[in-house]
């Protein structure tokens, strides 16, 4: 700890921080532009000037940049010094000379860091009377709008895009006053984190293009704390609503989870909530199928009664994209033995295995914050960039501990960004990737190994063996692979915080077991090491914790005639299992009830469709890959009969004449019931303040205190203002009235602080800059490794893979834009979704005589034949073909599996699919 003097008052602060960070942590308002809490200092904008004094007798002092100065013990500075103030006002005036007169038509207005800083420094009137420099804008794709005139040249965009997110197609051009930030030519920004530029840019150069289509000022957005539903990391978000539609997603800082950034899938996938495929009211379909007709809630309930009349004839299919509460309600309705998890046999088996490994230990599953501190990583069979993008962003920041120590010995702190990068000479922490197909992180990896899933698993076991005994004790392992195993083992052993990442995405149990074997070896030999498994969907982990049998077993139960009614919760079965199998399942059920928010092929087959809420219209709990349960809250009240799924299922339970659900009045009741029934969910009751929580007797308002239009927005339908809806489930209110101070961390509806209207207001909500939120980061971990349990029996090491001629091993491929079911319904994301394709390595394709873009027939056992275009993918091993998972237009195939390929005879119309 160090004692520093600010305006002659002593403050005790943490060592090795810069003055700007310290001043902001202490709550001072010190303006800045180029500094960013995640990207640190470069001292480019000169805005954070303060005065430094030699000692208490020094009255003259000198102006220094707070962000570039170490807060040494005994340092004396002044923020309020008139000369420092004048200097800061002068810098703002300079930055504003060419800033256009755009605020009324600028999307940043009202949450603009430049506006805030201009007001803070007191610059009010432009003294500059000459011509303003102008720039032409660029087209940057479906996510971002470019308005280069507004630039103040803080370089944050390039520093985020290139240095932080590893992007290559955005840079600074020209020099001096003419500097330009953009691409070399118009085109789509390729990096999947580009959307963060809208938040990173302190002014309106980069703004959210989807938000622009239905623009609303920040002060008008009704917001609530939420959790992203587009992958299993559970990044915290702030969705904003106005006039009954969802307008945008902003990042919600959570020190343990997503920090300052979101991926583009999470930021732009929201549009499905407003989509025309939404189920807006109950629908009834006649016994013969055909067109569904809208019906009233009463009609729906009476049809429900008919379908549910015989108890014990009912089975329920849950969903990894529905909340814990909804899945639990379904499990209560049908009973534990008749609850099916609604995922494929393979996914259920892999999730259960991964969960068991994490529960058994000894390795612990780290949070994203802990991953940020890892210094050697081995990824086994998971394309992290495309299945869990923010984890990939975290992995890009890893720096070896040795290098940090080296830089510190040169008196360079990690916050001194440029010097630190120079000191570590771009050296990243060792990152090894072993997978069947090329992954998005391959370019950043120290070494990459692509082979069949079983060979990848063999490498993993070899690494474990080297760690335990020093040699890769496995027969038939090629020389280069055993060498690689030795190298990886050495890197993991030398690291202070080694990390092994695997996941369900690879589709192979042996890879998961291989990862577990390495983590066990690391723990037993070195006593360190963490293990992270990535799950495919937002609540896959929660569903795995809840248990439930697979879809194949549901089919079995129906075929045997043990059940005739199927209740399907928020699940499109056609993306879970092969089409013939799903057809059989749906045909053997007499009654199908679907509760979902979006029409899909399954809901088209249902006799009764009930409208469920999305994440924005309902509250619930999701469990992320780390095992952290997080609560998301309803952002707005939807029109009509849209309700949370669990409320519909609660009706079903009451209609069947049972009393279990009678006590479920609010969300806390069902969470409590769940915790009583399944002790592993006990912590869910503690993730957020209960519904009756009040501060000074008041609820926390979802609307900012400046929200406008209350007495006019409904006036065209009824001139009497409606009563604001009451939210029984949470301590949040649908009004602008209520407690005006800072809410508890799990309930923060938006980041705003007096004088800080932009996202930078988050500084005021943290215990220290880039640290946990005041009151602790929200969420509760449900999984901790069991203490003192020795590792289980040695795992079965897979044999080397052999492929017969004409046989191909088809492995899953992932796309940030395309793999996830809901985000592809968003119009902006849809523009980035690739066309369906089958990937082959160029050598294989040449030997087959098939050119890029030509069609091939894909024949998988027991599944319909698909015709699909071939795309060359360098890095795929020979004999391995790749198929993008759940890409629109690609049929569901259980992967990986052996398939055969038929090349249609070349005719005049070759290649036309």
């Amino acid at each position: 700890m160090a004692t520093i003097y600010i305006d002659n008052k002593p403050y005790v602060v943490k060592d090795r921080q810069n003055l700007l960070q310290v001043c902001l942590s202490l709550g001072f308002d010190l303006p800045y532009f180029c500094w960013h809490p995640a990207m640190h200092s470069v001292g480019a904008c000169r805005q954070c000037a303060v005065k430094l004094f030699r000692d208490e007798k020094d009255t003259r002092g000198k102006i220094i940049m707070a962000c570039m100065t170490l807060a040494k013990d005994g340092i004396r500075i002044s923020i309020d010094d008139p000369e420092a103030k004048k200097f800061r006002a002068g810098i703002t005036e300079f930055l504003m000379t060419c800033h256009p007169h755009d605020c009324p038509v600028c999307d940043e207005g009202g949450e603009c860091h430049l506006q805030d800083m201009t007001v803070m420094t007191g610059h009010t009137y432009r003294g500059y009377r000459f011509r303003k420099r102008t720039h032409r804008n660029q087209y940057l794709g479906p996510f971002l709008h470019h308005e280069m005139n507004r630039c103040i040249a803080c370089y944050r965009c390039v520093r985020f895009y290139c240095d932080y997110a590893g992007g290559r197609d955005l840079n600074a051009f020209q020099c001096g006053n003419r500097v330009y930030f953009g691409r070399h030519e118009d085109g789509v920004l390729e990096n999947i984190f580009s959307g963060n530029l809208a938040e990173v840019c302190p002014t309106g150069v980069f703004t959210d293009k989807t938000f622009r289509r239905h623009y609303t000022r920040k002060w008008d957005l009704q917001t609530a704390p939420s959790v992203c539903v587009h992958c299993a990391l559970g990044c915290n978000t702030i969705p904003g609503e106005r006039y009954g539609t969802l307008r945008r997603i902003h990042n919600r800082y959570n020190g343990e989870v997503n920090g300052y950034f979101l991926c583009d899938r999470g930021r732009y996938g929201y549009e499905f909530v407003n989509g025309n495929r939404r189920i807006r009211g109950p629908l009834l379909r006649g016994p013969g199928g055909g067109e569904a007709r809208p019906c009233t809630r009463g009609e729906a309930l009476s049809r429900m009664e008919e379908a549910l009349h015989t108890p014990g004839r009912l089975i329920g299919i849950g969903s990894p994209r529905a909340s814990l509460e909804s899945n639990f309600a379904l499990r209560t309705l049908v009973g534990k033995d008749r609850f099916f998890s609604g995922v494929s046999e393979r996914e259920r088996k892999l999730s259960a295995a991964a969960l068991e490994i994490l529960q058994r230990g000894p390795a612990r599953t780290p949070s994203l914050h802990e991953i940020r501190r890892a210094d050697a990583v081995f990824i086994i069979g998971e394309d992290v960039t495309n299945t869990a993008p923010i984890m990939a962003l975290t992995l890009l920041q890893l720096v070896p501990c040795k290098k940090v120590a080296l830089a510190r010995s040169l008196q360079i702190e990690p916050w001194d960004d440029m010097s630190f990068r120079e000191a570590i000479q771009q050296e990243c922490a060792p990152l090894y990737i072993a997978s069947a197909a090329p992954t998005g992180l391959d370019d950043e990896a120290t070494r990459v190994y692509h082979a069949t899933p079983d060979d990848v698993a063999r490498l993993a076991f070899a690494v474990a063996h080297v760690l335990e005994s020093g040699v890769p004790g496995m027969e038939g392992l090629p020389e280069n692979v055993s060498g690689l195993a030795g190298e990886i083992a050495c890197a993991l052993k030398e690291a202070e915080r080694p990390l092994v990442i695997s996941g369900i995405g690879g589709g192979s149990l042996s890879m998961i077991e291989g990862a577990a074997a390495i983590s066990r070896a690391l723990r037993s030999v070195c006593g360190k090491g963490e293990l992270s498994f990535l799950f495919p969907e937002c609540n896959s982990m929660g569903l795995a914790l809840m248990g439930g049998r697979s879809l194949a077993e549901a089919r079995e139960v129906l075929r045997e005639g043990d059940a005739d009614t199927l209740v399907i919760l928020e699940n499109d079965l056609f993306i879970r299992d092969a089409k013939p199998a799903v057809e059989e399942l749906l045909k053997s059920a007499q009654h199908i009830i679907v509760v979902d928010h979006t029409h899909n092929r399954t809901s088209e087959r249902a006799e009764l469709v009930l409208p469920a809420s999305t994440f924005a219209e309902g509250s619930g709990t999701l469990v992320n890959s780390e095992g952290r349960a997080q609560r998301f809250y309803r952002v707005f009240v939807p029109d009509g009969d849209i309700r949370e799924s669990w409320r519909w299922i609660q009706d079903m339970i009451s209609i069947s004449g049972r009393g279990e659900a009678a006590g479920w009045k609010v969300l806390d009741d069902i969470a409590g019931a769940m915790a009583r029934e399944m002790p592993e969910f006990e912590a869910v009751t503690r993730i957020a303040p209960p519904a009756d929580f009040r501060i000074s007797g008041e609820k926390i308002p979802r609307q900012p205190h400046r929200a406008s239009g209350r007495t006019a927005m409904h006036a065209h339908t009824d001139v009497h203002e409606p009563m604001p809806s009451d939210d029984l489930d949470s301590p949040l209110a649908f009004t602008m009235e209520g407690y005006g101070g800072q809410a508890p961390p799990a309930l923060i509806p938006r980041f705003w602080s007096p004088g800080w209207n932009s996202v930078q207001a988050v500084n005021k909500f943290q215990q220290e800059i880039a640290g946990p939120l005041k009151g602790g980061d929200p969420g509760q971990r449900l999984i901790e490794p069991a203490e003192g349990v020795k590792s289980a029996s040695p795992d079965k090491i897979p044999e080397a893979e052999g492929l017969r001629p004409g046989e191909w091993l088809l492995v899953p491929l992932y796309h940030t834009f395309g793999t996830e079911e809901m985000s592809v319904l968003s119009s902006s994301v849809a523009e980035r979704v690739p066309a369906p394709y089958l990937a082959l390595c160029p050598e294989d394709a040449l030997s087959l005589g098939i050119g890029e873009g030509e069609a091939a027939e894909l024949i998988a056992s027991g599944e319909a034949q698909q015709r699909i275009r071939v795309r060359y993918l360098k890095g795929l091993p020979r004999g391995v073909a790749g198929l993008p998972v759940s890409l629109p237009g690609v049929g569901m195939i259980d992967l990986p599996q052996k398939v055969s390929l038929v090349i249609p005879a070349k005719t005049a119309d070759t290649g036309k699919v």
């Binding site: 256009p100 011509r131 002060w219």
Partner: protein, 171 residues
């Protein structure tokens, strides 16, 4: 007794003073142009809508009686998709006019807005938009703003230099 007589005397003297009562509606009183009466939306000197839907009037309104939604036309001009003022709530404080950065929203001297039914006091954009510039004749926001719109490319605004040529090698 004396005080009653005094009072009556004072009232009697008023008979010889000038009459204050105006015979409204036969006789209309004069309202100066800065009178804060019925709100209108004006057009710029080129005849296009002045309102750029910046939401500043709505947020300034103390009774929250202004509601709008911004939209953008094919030329990049912002305009309100709908613009609604609930005059049954309006207190004619003029904050909206003060907040307006484009002189679009203006209060007029018209105060004759009596209605028997409250819904008739809800004015939509069609009811608010006039065909002239109102009190501020010369101003056109897009001439001074940095954004390009149809007919005004980058660098063609007032006091603007031509756009930077990124391929120029001159220092």
């Amino acid at each position: 007794m004396i005080s009653v007589v005094k009072g009556m005397w004072r009232v009697f003297l008023f008979l010889f003073r000038r009459k204050v009562t105006v015979q409204y509606p036969e006789e209309k009183p004069y309202h100066p142009p800065r009178w804060r009466g019925r709100i209108i939306l004006s057009r710029d000197p080129d005849g296009a809508e002045r309102c750029v839907a910046c939401y500043l009037c709505a947020v300034a309104c103390p009774v929250a009686c202004i509601s709008l939604q911004s939209a953008e036309d094919e030329n990049g001009r912002r305009y309100p998709e709908f613009f609604r003022i609930n005059f049954s709530r309006c207190i004619f404080c003029g904050f909206c006019e003060e907040a307006c950065p484009t002189y679009a929203i203006q209060l007029t001297p018209d105060c004759e807005m009596g209605e028997y039914k409250r819904p008739n006091l809800v004015y939509e954009k069609e009811d608010l938009l006039i065909s002239g510039t109102g009190k501020y004749p010369g101003y056109n926001f897009y001439r001074v703003a940095g954004v390009s719109i149809g007919g005004k490319a980058k660098g063609e605004g007032e006091n603007e230099a031509p756009p930077i040529d990124l391929h120029d090698l001159m220092p």
